[in-house]
């Protein structure tokens, strides 16, 4: 008797401690609150279960006042939040969603300025990305920061404009849209992989991430769209002229942007620094920038006949 009394007494003390700590930790994890509420709900549920069958007979009983369904809803919501946490954690391991959000933090002023910069980069003086305590500032506040909004929109617009161009020449069929899209995507992936490989081989210590390279490679779609639209509106000479202008513009843009990221401090400021390593880095920058006009011509010449 005494043994069971002390056992129940200690269990009651444990329950009291649990309820007290649940009061203190009310801003703690939601899971903890749910189980304590479910725990107290289960005690009332067990007590009301005997009264349940009699109470359920009443027709006016709404679903929400039934303690058993309360318990079920609380348990279900805690399970759902658990599941969501697990999915978020696992998805974040493969696709860094939090890092991707930085690249889409843009606004209209930034997009306008960046598009102008892509077509006319000759007047811009300061090409450095501004930092804020070791992390780069969001693209909304700095026109030099890379973003993924313009490349994504440019890619989709390129596919649509290619469909339009093929339609005006009576060569259109819906599968061709998919063919154009996958072709351009494959070239993009190959270009990013080639740049990554060459960066690895030249052992450049840079803070360029893969997503940054994807953004820089995606900026050429803007020039391609301008060229194709000009060719559609005004004919072949206009296509060649506008493509030439956009090619030179993107060449200058890439060189001025990559110069600060890939070259050493001294070489980036324009002073001539001798040495095999700097020369190799300069060649790498030039070749990355020169690949852009080549791709721009390659992906659009078959659209204008």
């Amino acid at each position: 008797m005494d043994y069971t009394a002390t056992q129940s007494g200690s269990r009651q003390q444990a329950n009291m401690r649990l309820r007290n700590s649940s009061m203190d930790g009310s801003d703690g994890s939601q899971l903890f609150e749910d189980t304590s509420r479910a725990g107290s709900g289960s005690q009332t549920g067990y007590r009301n279960q005997q009264a349940g069958p009699q109470a359920a007979g009443f027709p006016g009983q709404s679903l929400l006042s039934d303690p058993m369904s309360n318990l079920a809803m609380a348990y279900g919501s805690s399970l759902a939040s658990q599941g969501r946490e697990m999915v978020d954690k696992n998805l974040d391991r493969f696709i860094p969603i939090s890092k991707l959000k930085y690249y889409f933090a843009v606004d209209t002023v930034y997009v306008g300025k960046k598009l102008g910069l892509l077509v006319f980069p000759y007047m811009h003086e300061n090409w450095e990305v501004s930092y804020q305590q070791d992390t780069p500032v969001a693209p909304r506040f700095d026109v030099n920061a890379p973003d993924l909004y313009i490349p994504a929109m440019g890619f989709i617009t390129y596919v649509l404009v290619a469909g339009l161009a093929l339609g005006t020449q009576n060569r259109f069929s819906p599968e061709l849209l998919g063919v154009q899209a996958s072709s351009a995507l494959v070239w993009l992936i190959m270009e990013v992989l080639a740049v990554l490989l060459s960066l690895y081989l030249v052992t450049v210590n840079t803070d360029l991430t893969t997503i940054d390279l994807l953004a820089f490679s995606g900026y050429k779609y803007v020039g391609m769209i301008v060229g194709v639209v000009a060719g559609l509106l005004f004919g072949k000479p206009a296509y060649y002229l506008s493509l030439l202008w956009c090619c030179v513009a993107i060449f200058v843009f890439m060189i001025r942007t990559l110069r600060l990221k890939l070259l050493s401090e001294a070489a980036a400021e324009g002073r001539l620094v001798r040495g095999a390593r700097n020369q190799l880095r300069m060649y790498l920058t030039m070749s990355i920038a020169a690949a852009q006009p080549i791709f721009m011509y390659w992906l659009t010449y078959h659209l204008i006949r």
């Binding site: 063919v179 996958s182 072709s183 995507l185 494959v186 070239w187 992936i189 190959m190 690895y200 081989l201 030249v202 052992t203 390593r277 190799l280």
Partner: protein, 74 residues
């Protein structure tokens, strides 16, 4: 040129296979690209050749691991 994602996967597999079938004794050592001729200096500038040799060696090691794992399946 109509490239599809499938051709990209094909390209990757063929390139990996090409690196995997390079014979160590008969070929790589003859042209001075063997595993013992790669890592020389420990300075801060490995150079392009050392990086290429490292890359080839690591790709072949990873392929060997896959090969041994696949061999253990009946």
């Amino acid at each position: 040129m109509a490239f599809t994602l499938y051709t990209l996967i094909q390209t990757a597999i063929l390139c990996t296979n090409a690196i995997a079938v390079l014979h160590e004794e008969r070929f790589l050592s003859k042209i001075g690209w063997g595993v013992d001729q790669g890592v020389g200096g420990f300075g801060d500038d490995p150079g392009v050749k050392a990086q290429v040799l490292n890359l080839i060696r690591s790709v072949r090691t990873v392929m060997r691991v896959f090969n041994s794992v696949e061999k253990s399946f009946p």
